[in-house]
Subunit: 190 residues, 2 copies
Amino acid sequence: MDKPIKPVSLDKAYRLLNHGPTVLVSARHDGVDDVMAAAWACALDFDPPKLTVVLDKITATRVLIERSGQFVIQVPTAAQLELTHQLGSRSLNDEADKLANSGVQLFTLGGQGLPFVEGCSAWLACRLIAEPHNQQVYDLFIGEVIGAWADSRVFRDGRWHFEDADPAWRSIHHVAGGHFYGIGEALGRK
Amino acid sequence: MDKPIKPVSLDKAYRLLNHGPTVLVSARHDGVDDVMAAAWACALDFDPPKLTVVLDKITATRVLIERSGQFVIQVPTAAQLELTHQLGSRSLNDEADKLANSGVQLFTLGGQGLPFVEGCSAWLACRLIAEPHNQQVYDLFIGEVIGAWADSRVFRDGRWHFEDADPAWRSIHHVAGGHFYGIGEALGRK
């Protein structure tokens, strides 16, 4: 059977983040995996594609990224709203079984030894571009996107198809305190 | 009559951007105003509130920001989709009457001598935090939010009310090539 997850060409990878979804950030180092939620992730460049993500010093995921030099940014769906909230509220620093307790399932893509979150709509594998001043002063991390994939049931032909897909595929956009909006209608120029 | 535009307390200013809308960036220097559209703007900190925005070297707005050290990030509405597209497609470098031709109306708020775009849902007045390396290498600009306001018909009590407001107030989220999504339904945890 044809697998629904397809590579996205790097020149179109920015489109996976351009509409501003809340994301999940995952990383692995020395046998330890972690996943956190982040609303402050943003495209930074087209070619080669780059992105920014803000990672607070209290997060365990940040330490894994600093040590391994790589991470994944993925776009969770409306069906994963509770999972996203759990991953954003619990910490591996307090709870060794955070991932199991949150119900997250990991898989691999692209052979980079990175942990990808199952059930998301899109994934961007990133290499950390070390910028110690930004990281220390602003908690701001820059990644170069080295691989991108999306689930073709909601992103194909270089664009999102939220309007044709099951509403469970919609991206989620956090405001504060567990208050999210789903992405809505396609709007074109009149 | 009570004016609909109200100040937003600085500790809640991040909520105006947290859901990832496409924004308009405006600036003024030496009697010249410009406004451009940007999808790559993102909250960076809570207190004091900061944000990032990516400004290509070809934009005239960037030069005004570098020279004046201040700018406004504002959240356009679905009713302003065509305006946003025009402001993102035309350049003051090619067209001295860009603002008039795009149909944008400017007004003032907060006495900082900054140009604010009429009809938006939220405005964040920013002081540039100069970071020449980020600006030169990544086109990445950091601003400290020194004043925030929102239209109380769609943002009040520290949160968005898209679900209760006219759909014309919805924020717009650009993907590529004039393909936007409006923000959608409020989603809560089950």
